[in-house]
Amino acid sequence: MSENTDTVKPVIGMEIHVELDTATKMFCRCRNSFGDPPNTNVCPVCIGMPGVLPVMNRTAVEHSIRVGLALNCRVAGFSKWDRKNYYYPDLPKNYQISQYDLPLSTDGYLDVHLEGGRIKRIGILRAHLEEDAGKNIHDNPAHTAVDLNRAGVPLLEIVSRPDMNTIEEVIAYAQAMHRLVRWLGVSRANMQMGHMRFEPNINLHVARAGRTYKTPIVEVKNLNSFRALRNTVAYEIDRQYQAWLADPEGCSIKKLGKQNRGYDDATERTVFQREKEEAHDYRYLPDPDLVPVVVSEDWQVRLAAGIGELPLARRHRFIESFGLTFKEADALTQDPATGDLLDQAINAGADAKRCVNLLLGRGAAVANERGCAIADIGLEAGQLVELVGMLVAGSINATAADKAFLKMLGTGRSPAEIASQEGLLAVTDSSTLEAWVDQALGDNPQAVSDVRAGGKKQQKALGFLTGQVMRISGGAAPPSEVQRLLKARLNL
């Protein structure tokens, strides 16, 4: 190879398909449910039997509008349905009801946070609603089996502009979208259940000797994990560059246009896919069985009012107003209710840092165990406020507070009451404290000498003695007070 003065800029756009968390399907009232026995959530409409007609799911449309608003899109005042015609066994009508030229939302953006505090704005071209297809099962080598449970489930397709240039940006965007749809309550976005699928479009702009070469755009469909997405983008960037190097003039977007590749999880590579016959002549026509969606100002305002603060804005506010670190703020803005809890507690006067420590310490541990959000572990804002107050006042120490925390979940009980009942209150009576200190000093003469001797061992010995007092007290002694007493006793 000649010396490499090439500048390679990946240009990446992405379509994300989000299955909406509605009770029923998009155009019929069969259950929208994952994992049920085959063909148990089907009806004449979603099987596409003769003479049946679709009826729009209102909740699905509202969810879609919410997403559009949260993505800063222009919500269409007038939106319509179109049929996308193609034949496939998991598409019983052999057309998909979708939106072609007048989708529900257009022209928005999502800001994503990158390393080093950089924020990148990813443009959103459009977001439209459509129905999902059923599933083709390939277990049997001799034939394919078709399950239509998923056929007709509402699918929101969000199309970004090709604004991403690095793997980091792609993953950040995917994660931000993942968080957003869960935040809004429009999708559970459970990757294992296939609630979110990624379709990146990737090509390279290679600058060499004053010219820019553009490689053909490769679209990879149906990636259902962040890992697959990362591997796909990484592999494609490299593969495309190698392919271009081998044929800089021929390997161009002008000559080859757009190509489809598949992702092979076993090898973590993309693979060539045979061109589907007539893959692109969808013969769109307006669906005569469905009437348009007219979104009034009123309706938009009502839906917007229900959205509230979005994750990025809230994260930023937690950092700026409450002094949280990025990591802390990020952890507390995975869902709206957890941040709400923090807000309520701080608004009631609780110390921010201590709230955060409790929430992200024991709170997060319990949440992880239970597989739920921190807001759902049964903690009330009032309880948090009270417990933090006790910590600040020193009437309970950290260890005891931890125990009290666990005990108060799901009960609504006052932590002070619990601490009192369970003997978790810090003992502040000086004679009791002095007695414990005396005992510890008496039991550990060596440590006492080490403290008195000074030098390197002193701090360690002091710490040891503090720990002994804590042990003797059963955790009820306030550590800072213990330290003070020890120092006084040992004439430090």
């Binding site: 039997m49 049946v52 019983p92 026509l285 069985d289 009437v291």
Partner: protein, 497 residues
């Protein structure tokens, strides 16, 4: 309705009525072949239940005990729903069409499913996958289509009323050919749930009856909002029967000047003008109106030319190509018995075997007009012309209350006469298609007989939601002209039903 009144009063039993009509079917079917399926047992069972309800003093409904027939295009949970196509020869629907549910709720006794042009594509019923129906007025002639079986059944007195469907004239034209009354309601008036789709933005279910009064009664029974059909109008239908005999003062009847070309059979032309005269004599004002975009010309080559026909067929075929894509041998319907290598072969063979030529033609034409590069030139263009056609009607209805025109350019033609050239057959629809494009109500009723004794049908068209006006005008014509309840010679010998 006399029969319903008779049954309700106990004068005669529903079971006797059902038996009598089943007997007519048995006697006349070898000649007429209007039915694909007769559900004799079910009909008798329901008739007996009607009698039992009557004896208990319960209301048997406005159509209680009245034998009716249902076009094969409507889904029923009993029997098969075939659309007279081999593609659906064995299909059993797990649901019943809204219109059928409603007619049964009103008490009607369904006798069976009637023959039609396959998937409602045709104007003669010659495109049925199960054989042709013969016009009771002349067994060598077609009954019209696509609701030919329903029209013939009513004409032959095999039933009191029938349901048909109309996309481009499929109720009105066979009604004209068979001398019966047929109504295509305003689009959205009758639910399309369970009506197997052909041209979804054009299709409507409607009644076919012996006279206008019965038509009003059946219309009312089947009309009304249905949440299962998103295109169903929110309004409940008025009681058409209540106003049917109310005199119409100052009725303005419009005659479209563009409809009277040499395309129109001379006798039909004369009959329509006589009908106009009947309205005039009865006190209506008859005036000329204009529907420029529905005009019928002859082109340079001397062939009949109509923008509206082109517009209609582009729209209907495009929608049909998409609506019929579901018939693929996978989830229901015909699947090829031959070994296939892949799914594409499965689809292509099954569809080739299950569909007749006309259906294939229309699917392919629809696919063509929607395919890449052609959407704007054909389909989108047709949708624009559609708006212009509707605009013409809106203008015309500013100066008249109803429009009077032929239901078909000729009387019933002979079986096989038009089978050779599809385009000629399409042009038989020139008077009916505009009404579907505009979504308006159209009533077809007999206005006389030709010299050869064949029925001539006229059409009354009204603004959207004006079925009441159209039906009243039709009743007015019946009374003034005396042309009503025509009986084909073949049944004139039979006992009065």
């Amino acid at each position: 309705m006399d029969l319903n009144a008779g049954i309700a009063s106990g004068e005669l039993s529903a079971e006797e009525a059902a038996k009598a009509y089943l007997a007519v079917i048995e006697a006349t079917e070898p000649k007429v072949a209007a039915f694909n399926e007769v559900h004799a047992e079910r009909a008798l069972e329901r008739a007996r239940r009607t009698d039992s309800r009557r004896r208990s003093g319960d209301d048997i409904g406005p159509l209680g005990g009245v034998p009716v027939a249902i076009k094969a295009v409507l889904c029923t949970q009993y029997g098969k729903t075939t659309c007279s196509s081999k593609m659906l020869a064995n299909f059993r629907a797990p649901y019943t069409a809204a219109a059928v549910e409603k007619i049964e709720e009103a008490g009607a006794i369904v006798l069976g499913k009637t023959n039609m042009d396959e998937f409602a594509m045709g104007s003669s019923t010659e495109n049925s996958g199960f054989g042709v129906t013969h016009n009771p007025w002349d067994l060598d002639r077609v009954p019209g289509g696509s609701s030919g079986g329903s029209a013939a059944a009513v004409a032959a007195r095999q039933c009191v009323a029938a349901l048909g469907s109309d996309t481009g004239g499929s109720i009105r034209q066979p009604a004209a050919f068979c001398g019966v009354v047929g109504l295509k309601p305003t689009y959205g008036r009758v639910s399309r749930y369970g009506l197997v789709a052909y041209g979804s933005s054009l299709d409507q279910v409607g009644p076919m009856t012996r006279d206008v009064t019965d038509c009003a009664l059946v219309s009312r029974a089947i009309s009304g909002h249905d949440p299962r059909d998103s295109t169903s109008l929110p309004a409940e239908a008025p009681d058409y029967l209540a106003s049917i005999n109310t005199p119409m003062d100052g009725l303005r009847v419009g005659l479209p000047r563009e409809f009277y070309s040499d395309a129109l059979d001379a006798e039909v032309n004369q009959a329509i003008h006589s009908a106009a005269g009947v309205f005039r004599d009865a006190g209506a004002e008859v005036l000329e109106v204009s529907l420029p975009y529905s005009r019928i010309d002859r082109d340079a080559g001397g062939n009949l030319s109509s923008y509206a026909v082109a517009c209609y067929y582009i729209v209907a075929m495009a929608e049909a190509s998409s609506n019929l894509a579901r018939y693929d041998g996978v989830h229901y319907g015909h699947r090829t018995a031959r070994d296939v290598d892949d799914i594409i072969e499965l689809y292509s063979r099954s569809r080739a075997e299950g569909f007749g030529q006309e259906v294939k033609r229309r699917i392919m034409l629809g696919t063509y007009t929607l395919s890449a590069g052609y959407y704007d030139a054909y389909y989108n263009k047709a949708l624009k012309v559609r708006r212009l056609i509707k605009g013409d009607f809106d203008q015309a209805f500013k100066v008249c209350d109803i429009i009077l025109c032929p239901a078909a350019p000729t009387v019933a033609f002979r079986i096989g006469e038009k089978a050779g050239d599809p385009l000629t057959m399409y042009l038989a629809d020139i008077y009916t298609i505009s009404v579907n494009l505009a979504g308006l109500p159209g009533l077809s009723l007999p206005c006389g007989l030709s010299r050869a004794g064949l029925p001539i049908g006229m059409q009354l068209i009204g603004p959207a939601l004006s079925e009441e006006t159209v039906l009243r005008a039709g009743r007015m014509f019946e009374k003034a002209s005396g042309v009503a309840r025509l009986k084909p010679p073949m049944i004139q010998g039979m006992a009065a039903n």
